[in-house]
């Protein structure tokens, strides 16, 4: 155990050189045991022989028992200063992006926590760059965390390229390279559980995404990983109601960017009623309107994504489509081993359609697709999910428009809220000169 940097701002169950005295990993509190890493209560019965309680909530990070001690070294920010923050990005921000970026930078300077509410396809990552470069130039330790490992994996090479002078670490479950002490850490929100008061700035990408939303364990992890005087920057296109309430009550500063980088408005979400589509599907049929539209896309050689609520719906739907003569498409779901390859084939144009579940709702970009949602009123499609799904359309400068059609058995509150959110964002966007 030679390298003291491993303990900088972290809590590890092994003592290292110059670590402060260990603190018990599980602490009894009002006749309950509480894990000091994930801050969760250990339910009675989660114990080893001889009544030694252990925490099952964060077991994946290594078991902590009442006999374990956690060791830490207070974060010393031991980095070599990079004067300009190491920003090597050569791109150009549009006027709206530039304004949002300056707003973010001002708040970061004042160590104020904030939300960037920018529509899908607004270029959120690049807007953060000026603020991030400033923070890194101050010698701040920064974490860029996301609940989704896909987002981290997509982000890491971009940040490595655009901040070439800054040493970076990428952390996620099953990462191939071991942990290293770096000024910029890109990680899943789960990995933040290992940190304590380490980061001056925590950037949380896709705050409303599963599993972070409403998850006290992960929300607590962000609190603990951030320094007490540190600040955080939340990024999302679809803040949940709790975040929206914080913004409305002026408890959280917000920067809006209701316009996409190319200056076009979001495509509106259209709803078409499809009575008892699931019964139809069991008889090997899709709603007539959906079939007509799909045939037209096929005729025009138009690529499209068809979202369905459950993995079990994928096979029957694709069967019907194949029978219609649409053979150049396939299905994707979360446990699909060829997931990345299929998405890449769709991008390359080898496939003209994908039938998929909510896993493709965010973080994927196809230059020119239309989006269809079968059963948009199903509870798996939250308001945020619907807005994100609609945001897959029109992301490219050359194809800024497109259709988003949801086939529902009935109008539901979540669908209406999604429609309303898009309308509201477009109203703000129009004020900024957005083109429909």
């Amino acid at each position: 155990m030679g390298d003291a940097t491993l303990w900088f701002g972290r809590r590890l169950p092994v003592p290292g050189p110059a670590t402060q005295p260990g603190k018990p990993a599980l602490v009894a509190h009002h006749q309950q045991w509480r894990c000091q890493r994930c801050q969760q209560v250990v339910p009675p019965g989660d114990e080893l022989p001889e009544h030694v309680p252990y925490c099952r909530q964060c077991l994946n990070l290594g078991r902590l028992t009442a006999h374990t001690k956690l060791y830490t070294i207070t974060e010393p920010n031991r980095f070599s200063r990079v004067v300009d923050g190491g920003l090597t990005w050569q791109g150009h921000l549009s006027d709206h992006q530039q304004r949002a970026a300056q707003e973010l930078l001002q708040r970061v300077r004042h160590q104020e926590s904030q939300l960037l509410w920018a529509v899908t396809g607004a270029g959120k990552t690049e807007i953060v760059y000026p603020a991030l470069a400033w923070a890194l130039a101050q010698g701040w330790r920064v974490a860029w965390a996301s609940p989704r490992v896909d987002v981290c994996l997509e982000l890491a090479p971009r940040l490595a390229r655009d901040f070439a002078a800054i040493p970076q670490a990428v952390l996620y479950g099953g990462q191939p390279v071991p942990y290293a002490y770096r000024q910029l850490t890109i990680c899943t929100t789960h990995q933040l559980l290992r940190f304590e008061h380490a980061f001056d700035l925590v950037i949380v990408d896709e705050v409303d995404a599963f599993p972070l939303a409403m998850n006290p364990l992960l929300l607590g992890a962000i609190d603990r990983a951030q320094k007490p005087q540190g600040c955080r920057l939340l990024l999302t296109a679809t803040p949940d109601r709790q975040l929206q309430r914080l913004v409305a009550h002026h408890q959280l500063a917000v920067t809006y960017l209701p316009l996409r980088y190319h200056g076009y408005l979001l495509p509106p979400l259209t709803v078409q009623l499809a009575w008892r589509w699931r019964e139809q599907l069991t008889r090997g049929k899709l709603p007539a309107a959906l079939m007509r539209r799909v045939r037209r896309y096929h005729h025009q050689q138009q690529c499209f994504l068809l979202f369905v609520p459950h993995v079990a719906d994928l096979a029957p739907v694709v069967q019907v489509l194949r029978r219609l003569g649409l053979t150049d498409g396939t299905t994707v779901h979360a446990q699909d081993p060829d997931r990345q390859a299929k998405v890449q084939r769709m991008r390359d144009g080898d496939l003209t359609y994908l039938v998929t579940t909510t896993i493709l709702e965010r973080g994927v970009t196809f230059p020119n697709v239309m989006v269809l949602i079968l059963g948009g009123d199903d509870p798996v499609f939250s308001t945020a999910a619907l807005v994100q799904i609609a945001g897959r359309v029109g992301r490219h400068r050359d194809h800024p428009r497109g259709d988003v059609v949801s086939y529902c058995q009935s109008q539901t509150l979540t669908v209406r809220r999604a429609q309303r959110m898009i309308v509201q964002l477009n109203r703000r966007g129009r004020q900024l000169g957005g083109r429909p």
């Binding site: 114990e47 080893l48 022989p49 030694v52 078991r63």
Partner: protein, 225 residues
Amino acid sequence: MRPGCVWCGRRFQPQISLADLLRWAPLPQPQVCVACAQRLKPITGPRCPACGRAQATATICYDCERWGDDFVNHAVFPYNSDLKAYMQQYKFQGDYRLREVMQPILRRALAREVYDVLVPIPVAAETWRTRGFNQVTAWLTDQPYQQALVVREATKSRPQSSKTRQERLRAQQPFQLAPNAAMVLQNQRVLLLDDVYTTGRTIRHAAQQIYLGGAETVTSLTLAR
């Protein structure tokens, strides 16, 4: 409120059949949800009569032919990815609660075996210190057993599971008899209990020692093969 599934943590409604209602006994309180229970598929079809491995025909498998002895092992599950995931969390991450997944299954499996004395495979003192439990005895609920074997000091250089087949086969005898073992083993039919049968080396080492203790027959039951 009912606690969730002990394996996946999700809340679930236990399935209650009409027979359960008519039995006039407390309703079953399963620890594991239906989806997790379905992940565990016991070996039902033809299997190797010597080691219990699931295979296409009920003939002695190649590995057992190479052993060339008449040792008999029974196995409950094939050692597939689901079992590996279970063992990973239970044994290597040390999730002691997961013993409850296997307790009812092993109770039924032990009831099918014919034996006088049950001897679980012991763990080394070092393992006991880090893991905090013996993964085999934790599966037993109220079945009596004899800890007739102990692990010799300083034989366990690294875990069996990290070795290749050749390395495992060359391994030295890791067990010795506990001080009073001969008394309980004399002329008894002994059943050894272990978690995973991989090459058969461990269980045969244990069987050798049990025979030295004067047992009449030694067979074994493992959770997975």
